[in-house]
């Protein structure tokens, strides 16, 4: 039941359907999971009803969790008494689910805002000066549309092959436990982004606004900025700062794509990448799946750094803890598409920087969560050391109630997570749309992408399986981009020029 959207490069965990208390913490969850998985994994499905039922009585729950066992829930003894309280709780939970959506809206919008404002104020990023990525050897210089289409398809194909190779390489590295190599890769990529690309960005900003700055100051600024970023992303730092760095890194990457991908190639790549996302996440042999399975075998959290996560969720969750949480602390991730699995495959090389960033995010969460949980609920937060005892407690508690003990947490709440890759491609789309100077189109793409994100979350809550976050949003974004450039923009221009309002 873990609700998460895993995408290649973006993974998103939403706990819309999760239980509040499941938030026991990322790390705890993983550890628990490791311990429990062997014996309990199979039980997940059959036991869920009982568990749910029990939890329902004891706590507020998110709306989606119930739909499967309505009957069961209704028949639960002792439920009638607290109808009104329950209703309030339900409302709370719905709001809570919605809050996750908003928690994603904000960073996604901020990332787009950075990209769009850069594009519209700094000409450098929308100007084509004949330099392109190595992976796009065809530069669409021909005036013929057919040649351009052919070029764009070839470029997108090459780029996809590179991405697939990188993904497989990452999986192989992971499979053979070359963690040092992966970490080195991630650190190197974030280093490049935070220093070199930031330097380019700073330079273009200064040039656009015609500001003079001496080299010493510039180096000092960059050094501080970059080192702080590396520390925040790979080690520890205030959550807000880390989120800000992740957003900025994603925005920089998006700007690089916008600048260095040929015109038509960008659109084709956006389409192709969302299809790849779909394949990687949903097919049985998709790289994502393979990765997840490996991770599950090892009971590890894979590269948490690939994800943007909002930790605010945890504090909310913490307050909702109760004993049930403790009992369910064993873990769960029955869903094949774990978050972590999601990101890994998604990673393409360019994106690898983000991975690092995300991992950092996860670590950070853990740090923050642990103390909270422990203060509120001793049972819930054991880091695995104490689990044995706690589980024992759980079992004892539950058994009197006539239920067999199960230690599987159906929904591991980890707050909201969205892969940085999603940020990047959303921003690429909106930024590209804004580079043509039509604000109506930009705005339409923005709304369409957010609605797509909403729908993905809704589907996630309903289907309760891992879903890719790119396809729906990017499809909407592309449809609205072309529809509004070709149809709506001329119409609204003619309305505006006659000052007619509809």
């Amino acid at each position: 039941m873990a609700v998460r959207v895993s995408l290649p490069k973006l993974c998103f965990t939403s706990r819309m359907s999760g239980l509040l208390d499941e938030a026991a913490g990322l790390m705890d969850g993983h550890i628990d999971e490791a311990r429990v998985r062997g014996d309990d994994f199979d039980e997940v499905r059959d036991r869920n009803p009982e568990r749910r039922h029990k939890e329902r009585r004891s706590r507020p729950r998110p709306e989606q969790a119930e739909n499967i066992n309505d009957g069961d829930v209704n028949s639960a003894p002792g439920r009638a008494g607290d109808q009104s309280a329950e209703w309030l709780n339900d409302q709370e939970e719905l709001r809570y689910g919605a809050q996750h959506v908003i928690k994603l809206f904000v960073p996604v919008s901020l990332c787009m805002l950075v990209v769009v404002s850069t594009i519209s104020s700094i000409g450098f990023y929308s100007k084509k000066d004949g330099i392109y990525l190595v992976y796009t050897p065809f530069h669409e210089t021909s005036p013929l549309a057919s040649t351009k289409v052919w070029n764009a398809l070839a470029n997108a194909g090459i780029l996809m092959v590179v991405i697939i190779i990188m993904t497989i390489g990452l999986i192989l590295l992971y499979k053979y436990r070359c963690y040092m190599v992966i970490h080195g890769w991630l650190i190197l990529s974030s280093f490049i982004l935070l220093f070199i690309f930031s330097y380019l960005y700073l330079e273009e900003c200064l040039r656009a606004y015609n500001i003079a700055l001496d080299h010493i100051t510039a180096v000092l600024l960059l050094w501080n900025f970059g080192v702080m970023g590396m520390i925040c992303i790979h080690w520890v730092g205030p959550l807000r700062l880390q989120q800000a760095y992740l957003i900025f890194v994603a925005a920089l990457m998006a700007l690089v794509f916008i600048k260095y991908l040929p015109e038509w190639t960008t659109w084709v790549v956006l389409g192709v990448i969302s299809i790849w996302d779909l394949v990687a996440v949903l097919t049985p042999n998709g790289p994502l799946r393979i990765l997840v399975e490996t991770a599950q075998e090892r009971n590890e959290n894979i590269f948490p750094a690939l994800i943007y996560s909002s930790t605010v969720v945890y504090s909310i969750v913490g307050t909702a803890n109760n004993e049930t949480t403790g009992s369910s602390s064993g873990v769960q991730m029955d869903s094949p598409g774990d978050t972590e699995s999601g990101f890994v495959p998604s990673w393409r090389e360019e994106a690898s920087e983000r991975e690092a960033a995300r991992r950092r995010a996860m670590d950070e969460e853990e740090v923050q969560i642990r103390p909270r949980n422990s203060s509120q609920n001793d049972v819930a937060n054991e880091l695995g050391l104490g689990d044995g005892e706690h589980l024992g407690d759980d079992q004892q508690r539950r058994q009197p109630a006539g239920r067999s003990p199960f230690r599987i947490r159906e929904d591991e709440e980890r707050g909201v997570k969205l892969g940085l890759g999603d940020f990047i491609f959303y921003s690429v789309l909106v930024g590209k749309a804004s580079s043509y100077g039509d604000w109506n189109t930009t705005f339409a793409c923005f709304v369409a992408i957010l609605i797509g994100l909403c729908l993905t979350l809704l589907l996630l809550a309903v289907l309760k399986k891992a879903l890719p976050a790119l396809p729906i949003s990017i499809t909407f974004g592309l449809i609205f981009y072309f529809a509004s450039t070709l149809l709506v923009a001329p119409f609204s221009d003619s309305l505006a020029s006659h000052q007619v309002f509809i």
Binding site: V73, N74, A98, I102, L487, F491, Q499, V500, F501, I502
Partner: protein, 245 residues
């Protein structure tokens, strides 16, 4: 100067909507999502109207007539999408209700119409004025070559007028549909005032702006009263809310 004009006009057009959003919507995540969803529905309706406008463009009618016809069509189209939005949101509400086994609606119905109105209004306002505003930043200013100097000002006033109207229309529309047997008079009122307000702006391309602006603000006041009534307000409730402090 141009930047001042830009911010002045932008806040003139969207200030009230932004204030309403921050004060009443921003705290409620569900309402925020409704705002975005209704914005999306407005986009769909704009898409449909622009397709029709293109079809009118193929005919041999004069541009003025084409524009007038597509405005009339577009108004109907928007009202249809408002209705579809209502259906979508209420069925979503029902679905959630079943999921949670709650007997009361999950989404506050009054807020539903209001949030949907803000989404509709802001989206239509954005599409009406955002490119004009982008031009306001410069370079160059308005009114040098036989243009009206107060073009931006009037444009943003009209936008404000339509943003507010959309909020009120949605409140009336949703309240009317919520009644046991949909209140057809109120629905008709929404459609007629919408048609009237949009048609009045057709005068803008020729005559003085005041010809559309003044009547439109009268319509805003009228619609606001009707919306207040439709949302369940009365004179005594207004008085008590003002005096209770």
């Amino acid at each position: 100067m141009t930047l001042c004009e830009f911010f002045g006009c932008a806040f003139m057009a969207f200030g009230p909507a932004i204030a309403m959003f921050i004060l009443t919507i921003a705290q409620d995540p569900i309402s925020i999502i409704i705002v975005f969803a209704s914005g999306f529905f407005w986009l769909l309706s704009a898409l449909l109207s622009s397709i029709i406008w293109l079809f009118f463009g193929l005919s041999s009618m004069s541009p003025q007539v084409q524009l007038a016809l597509s405005v009339i069509f577009s108004v109907h189209c928007q009202e249809v999408f408002r209705f579809l939005l209502y259906l979508t949101l209420t069925s979503l509400d029902d679905g959630l209700k079943n999921m949670i086994e709650s007997s009361t609606p999950i989404i506050n119905r009054k807020m539903l119409g209001y949030s949907a109105g803000i989404g509709f209004g802001v989206m239509s306002g954005v599409f009406a004025i955002i490119n004009v505003l982008a031009d306001a930043v410069g370079p160059a200013t308005m009114g040098l070559k036989a243009g009206s100097e107060s073009f931006f000002l009037i444009s943003s006033c009209s936008t404000l007028c339509f943003v507010l109207l959309h909020v009120f229309w949605s409140v009336i529309f949703f309240a009317a549909l919520d009644q046991y047997r949909a209140n057809k008079i109120q629905l008709l009122f929404v459609l007629v005032t919408h048609l009237l307000a949009s048609s009045l702006t057709l005068l803008n391309s020729g005559g003085p702006f005041a010809a559309s602006l003044v009547p439109n603000y009268l319509i805003v006041i009228l619609t606001a009263c009707v919306a207040f009534h439709a949302a369940g307000g009365s004179i005594s409730s207004l008085k008590s809310s003002l005096t209770r402090q």
